[in-house]
């Protein structure tokens, strides 16, 4: 008697052709658009094409929108690049939010307290170093605990976020103008000391260029440097790493200093380059969104440009739909959810195949 087997089974694919993988992704996006179109028609009776057009407008309406899009991508990409080395090492740093926020707080503090003490360019330099140092410390603490005592880095980095948020809340309260309002407002609004200057009349250009440079550096660091090799070995297997003589503790600590410092850089860019103030919402969840950006791009810095574009595009589109069509932003979040679901889901079909059980035996 034959054993009853399920009709289908799932098998891991060998590496798929580059173009086939992209074909699957494109088909997934098309399916996502059809499903979300149906959902939006059924729920709101609005024309889905119009919704997509409005979403497109949210990013590409005019030059200002395109600059805003690029700026949004730059900051999200910076945080995503920051968490990537840690992720490759299988160190789940979900504390990017706090690392960036504490960096931003240091930048804002320097702007507030050192106005007039030094020329603006020097202050910017001090802010940059201070922010990266603060972010690095915020990353270092959980790394040391993990390396020395094997604490759980996921919980530790997560809790460090709340400490950072509370510290920022405290300072926004005591530096608030007027008293008790809990808002610092734009710092040095008249003198603009400590603000990143506009380049060719574009105030976000420095942010964008800095992040582009970081993208290239992280790509090279991960792919071609000894450090990058070591951290991926630690990620694959700590025992292998030890066997071939890699100092695992050192790699963990070194990588988290880098990760935290880059988050601090993102906080610096947010405070010195765009917001010119600080509150507990300055990083606005990017520390968590970055996790998705990094994973979706499979830790490839250049693919992260695309995945952060996707996320920022969807976010901006959601806002535009809320404004132009009078639909609540929550509705656009549903559309965003459907699209991301399909995009993540299609990776399954790229990595695995579903086979008819019978056929496989025939072919054998």
């Amino acid at each position: 008697m034959k054993m009853r087997e399920p009709l289908f089974h799932i098998a891991k694919r060998r590496r798929m052709d580059f173009w086939k993988a992209w074909l699957i992704r494109i088909v997934a996006v098309l399916f996502a658009l059809v499903v979300s179109g149906l959902v939006s028609y059924l729920l709101t009776k609005t024309n889905p094409i119009e919704i997509y057009q409005t979403m497109w407008k949210g990013s590409f309406k005019n030059a200002r929108y395109i600059w805003n899009l690029a700026q949004g991508i730059a900051i999200l990409l910076c945080v995503s690049l920051a968490v990537t080395p840690a992720f490759k090492m299988r160190f789940w740093n979900i504390g990017a939010e706090g690392q960036a926020l504490i960096g931003g707080l240091v930048a804002a503090t320097c702007m507030l307290k050192l106005e007039g003490a030094m020329p603006s360019w020097l202050l910017i330099l001090v802010m940059l170093c201070g922010s990266m140092l603060a972010g690095a410390i915020w990353g270092l603490v959980p790394a040391v605990f993990k390396a020395k005592w094997g604490t759980n880095e996921t919980l530790f980095t997560l809790m460090m976020n709340y400490i950072a948020i509370q510290i920022v809340s405290y300072f926004t309260y005591i530096w608030a103008v007027p008293a008790g309002s809990g808002k610092i407002g734009i710092i040095n609004q008249k003198s603009q000391i400590g603000w990143l200057p506009a380049l060719f009349g574009q105030k976000y250009l420095i942010n964008i260029l800095v992040v582009l440079a970081v993208t290239v550096i992280i790509f090279v660091y991960l792919k071609y440097s000894k450090h990058g090799y070591e951290l991926s070995v630690v990620g694959e297997s700590e025992n292998t790493a030890r066997y071939i003589g890699i100092n695992v503790k050192k790699v963990i600590i070194r990588t988290m200093i880098l990760s935290g410092a880059l988050c601090g850089l993102a906080g610096f860019l947010l405070v010195a380059g765009t917001d010119h103030t600080i509150d507990s919402n300055t990083v606005a969840g990017r520390g968590f969104t970055a996790i998705m950006v990094s994973w979706l791009a499979k830790f490839n810095p250049f693919s992260m440009i695309l995945t952060s574009l996707l996320i920022v595009f969807l976010q901006r589109g959601a806002g535009q739909v809320a404004t132009d069509m009078g639909l609540n932003e929550s509705f656009s979040d549903i559309i965003t959810g459907i699209i991301i679901f399909f995009i993540i889901g299609c990776e399954f079909f790229i990595n695995y195949q579903i086979k008819r059980t019978g056929r496989r035996e025939e072919s054998k």
Binding site: K20, L23, I24, I26, V27, L30, F31, L33, V34, G37, L38, Y41, N47, P48, I49, E50, N62, R64, Y65, N68, S169, Y173, W175, V177, P178, A179, G180, S181, G182, K183, G185, I186, Q189, T274, D275, H276, T277, D279, N281, T282, A284, G319, A322, T323, N328, E329
Partner: protein, 424 residues
């Protein structure tokens, strides 16, 4: 090869689906465009009849959306203005969920790009970002609710507005005091146990001014009333506000009011059966047994004032303070199921006294500070980082709230009110 064919087929099917989905959509679109034309036609003929508002376009920037009672109050006022002035839907733009960051500047700049002649923003933290946009677009009027910077920045196109909501709070306080009297008369507790509980957001002048005026209103009818204030450290924290209200009730408070934007405190009161005086709008639907009355600011008069000023080429003052007379300070209907008898009549009498100018909320003979009457107070009206006191506000026997600038600056701690926590 077969697989590739299958994939291509699947893709073709998807396109077919999209195309099918598209066809009814395009027929939908056709009548829409004709409808647009039909709309446009009378609009142009109206322009011949000189519609003064034809060239007006007004934008509103909101911190949250209509799910927040605070923002809903602004959105409702905005739509009321639209209806009263007869503006078309394409003449107003509402941007919701705009955080108090550079995004606010970008939203304001986008509204200016879109051809808005007036841009409003509703949240305190929007102010410096709106100011940034005002400097860049001198031909657009930027009006910020609750802010403090307009009278010191002295820009022609940047303005602040608020309302004398402390008068509304005082009126709501009268309703609260009468309820306390009723409960004392019914023997529910002794006169000296008439403790009011108040859930506040921050130790900010707007909140201090609010609970003090509410308390003075209550004490004007119930002389033995005292108050306990619990701060939450957030403008919107449903769980925190509920917890604070419950704590106050357990501490022996007989009536609760709040200055925070969620339903936390009102629902806590409904659960405990403790009377509640609300804010920002009626909460009677959720709290039919305990809701007494609510004060709120109606922003429509200010919106209309500004739009009319722009149309007529008049200057808008740096500070505008709405009042009961301008229709900016409103009380909701009194819930007779919970309120004491005669509440409406007592409120109406006080409204007349306010209008006649004979009643002042912060009359110095009605309260003491550290046991002594207040004869002088220097307030930080021109806000600065050092909080330097700069303006004498106690003149002619009362504290002149919201007169030297629209945003409240009454931050005096008077006797009879205990603040339970000071952290915020």
């Amino acid at each position: 090869m077969k697989k590739i064919l299958a994939l291509l087929l699947a893709a073709v099917m998807v396109f077919a689906l999209v195309a099918c989905g598209g066809t009814p959509a395009s027929t939908d679109a056709a009548p829409e465009t004709t409808a647009d034309n039909a709309d446009a036609a009378p609009a142009t003929t109206e322009a011949v009849e000189v519609n003064p508002y034809a060239d007006v376009k007004v934008g509103l920037i909101c911190l949250h959306d209509e799910n927040s009672t605070y923002d809903l109050n602004f959105i409702n006022g905005f739509k009321e203005m639209q209806a009263n002035l007869g503006l078309a839907d394409n003449q107003i733009v509402i941007k919701t969920n705009i955080p108090e960051s550079n995004d606010c500047y970008e939203a304001a700049a986008d509204l200016a790009d879109e051809g808005c002649t007036v841009v409003f923003a509703d949240s305190f933290g929007h102010e410096s970002f709106l100011l940034q946009a005002a400097k860049e677009f001198p031909n657009v009027q930027f009006c910020h609710a609750t802010g403090t910077m307009a009278h010191t920045e002295k820009l022609d196109n940047f303005h602040n507005a608020f309302a004398s909501i402390y008068e509304g709070r005082y009126l709501a306080g009268i309703a609260a005091g009468m309820k306390l009297n009723e409960m004392i008369a019914a023997g529910q507790f002794a006169a000296e146990d008439a403790v009011i509980g108040y859930v506040g957001a921050f130790t900010y002048a707007e909140v201090i001014s609010g609970y003090t005026s509410f308390f003075l209103g209550a004490r004007s009818v119930c002389p033995t009333a005292t108050m306990k204030v619990q701060f939450t450290g957030s403008w919107y924290d449903e769980a925190g506000e509920k917890e604070a209200a419950t704590k106050l009730i357990n501490d022996g408070c007989k009536l609760i009011s709040q200055h925070a934007d969620s339903m936390g405190a009102p629902t806590a009161c409904e659960t405990a059966g403790i009377p509640n005086v609300s804010y920002n709008g009626s909460t009677v639907a959720a709290c039919p047994n305990t809701f007494i009355v609510s004060s709120r600011i109606n922003w429509a008069p200010y919106y209309e004032f500004v739009v009319n000023a722009v149309v007529n080429g008049e200057t808008i003052p740096a500070d505008w303070t709405g009042s009961i007379s301008t229709g900016s300070v409103l009380l909701t209907d009194v819930n007779t199921a919970a309120a004491a008898e005669g509440t409406q009549a007592a409120i109406d009498a006080a409204i007349e006294a306010f209008k006649a100018g004979t009643l002042h909320v912060f009359a110095t003979d009605t309260y003491t500070v550290d046991g002594a009457a207040q004869t002088s107070y220097m307030a930080d009206v021109d806000s600065d980082a050092a909080y330097t006191p700069d303006t004498e506000v106690v003149v002619d026997g009362y504290f002149h709230e919201s007169e030297f600038r629209s945003a409240p600056y009454f931050d005096v701690r008077i006797d009879g009110i205990t603040t339970l926590n000071q952290a915020f």
